[in-house]
């Protein structure tokens, strides 16, 4: 009974897991680690080898990209139920952004090594996981795409920001 409650609570907090059958969630849980992460901690840094998949059971995380000279741009703000690390996990290449905890978080972490073992073995669960992650990543990309598009479709909202930034950088490059 308590298992039932835990399962329900978990899938309520993490809608992503609803894509899986109960047995698959149990199998995934056996692969993952659930732990607390304090505000300000980086789950991974830009350039890190993939650390795996992080599912936010509570708290908040921002993903950001270093653009040089100490500046960075925020790509996404994720809250309970959000998934980070999926892009580097899918492409199996260094992280192209950092993920930093902005509110004390409870994360369900699936280490890359464990997931990669399953992937190499072409385990059905790995296949299901990758299949579930692809649309998540596509939706997250849509958020970044929207920001790029908005700069030009609504220039008045951004012009002041860029003029200020241009001055701070003192020129091109």
């Amino acid at each position: 009974m308590s298992d039932q409650i835990d399962f329900d609570k978990l899938t309520e907090a993490v809608p992503f897991l609803r894509l899986f059958a109960r047995e698959e969630v149990e199998e995934l849980m056996a692969l993952g680690d659930l732990y607390q992460v304090a505000k300000g901690t980086a789950l991974y840094e830009q350039g890190d080898i993939p650390k795996g998949l992080f599912i936010l059971v509570g708290g908040a995380v921002t993903t950001r990209r270093d653009v040089g000279r100490g500046d960075y741009v925020e790509l996404m703000l994720l809250q309970r139920g959000g998934v980070v690390g999926a892009t580097s996990m899918l492409k199996n290449a260094p992280c192209s952004e950092a993920a930093v905890v902005t509110e004390d978080a409870l994360v369900l972490h699936f280490p890359a090594a464990r997931l990669n073992e399953m992937r190499v073995a072409r385990a059905p669960l790995a296949y299901r996981l990758l299949r579930a992650l692809a649309p998540v990543v596509e939706r997250q990309a849509a958020e970044t795409v929207k920001r790029v598009r908005d700069i030009f479709s609504r220039p008045d909202r951004y012009r002041e920001h860029f003029e200020k930034l241009g001055g701070a950088h003192g020129g091109l490059g």
């Binding site: 072409r122 299949r131 596509e138 939706r139 849509a142 795409v145 790029v148």
Partner: protein, 165 residues
């Protein structure tokens, strides 16, 4: 290459190098070859997304529309790269216009075919989808890099804004 057989093009994809010609043929059933001349608009911003396209030869510009309606070039995409979207519920309409900068060859995977491939549980479909998902992730990187550059070079961004206004 002049072939219109997807098998011939898929065989040239390094990431699919481990697949036999027979396995490649299974994957080829889910796509078709599309050839485009320079200047052809492949996808127009705001149109419904219905397919993912693997650019296997050529070069494509990613273009957005300014408030004035004028086109703003964002970046160029070289082969090999995935364009469009795999899943209709993920991104419903094309976020940007894609236009060929030189004669290009695309392997078109209609979303319905992707769904069919996802339902096919076999080592071939696993390998093929793993490859397509990796390309999805790389295309995400392209946009986050573009977004970062727009911030990193504010003068360029302002110049683009001026040109489009």
């Amino acid at each position: 290459m002049t072939s219109d057989d997807p098998v011939d093009w898929l065989e040239r994809v390094p990431q699919l190098g481990g697949l036999s010609r027979r396995e490649i043929a299974v994957l080829a059933d889910f796509c078709e070859v599309r050839r485009e001349k320079t200047g052809k608009i492949i996808t127009r911003q705001g149109e419904r997304c219905t397919s993912a396209m693997l650019l296997v030869e050529g070069r494509v510009a990613c273009v957005t529309a300014a408030a004035s309606g004028a086109p703003v070039g964002l970046f160029a995409i070289e082969a090999l790269a995935l364009l469009g979207t795999l899943h209709p519920w993920a991104i419903k309409t094309a976020p940007f216009t894609l236009q060929t900068l030189r004669p290009s060859v695309l392997l078109v995977f209609p979303q319905a075919e992707i769904a069919a491939l996802e339902e096919t549980s076999s080592p071939v479909s696993f390998r093929a989808l793993d490859f397509l998902y990796q390309e999805v992730a790389r295309s995400v990187d392209r946009f986050s890099v573009a977004y970062g550059r727009l911030y990193r070079y504010p003068e360029v961004t302002l110049q683009k804004m001026e040109q489009a206004s």
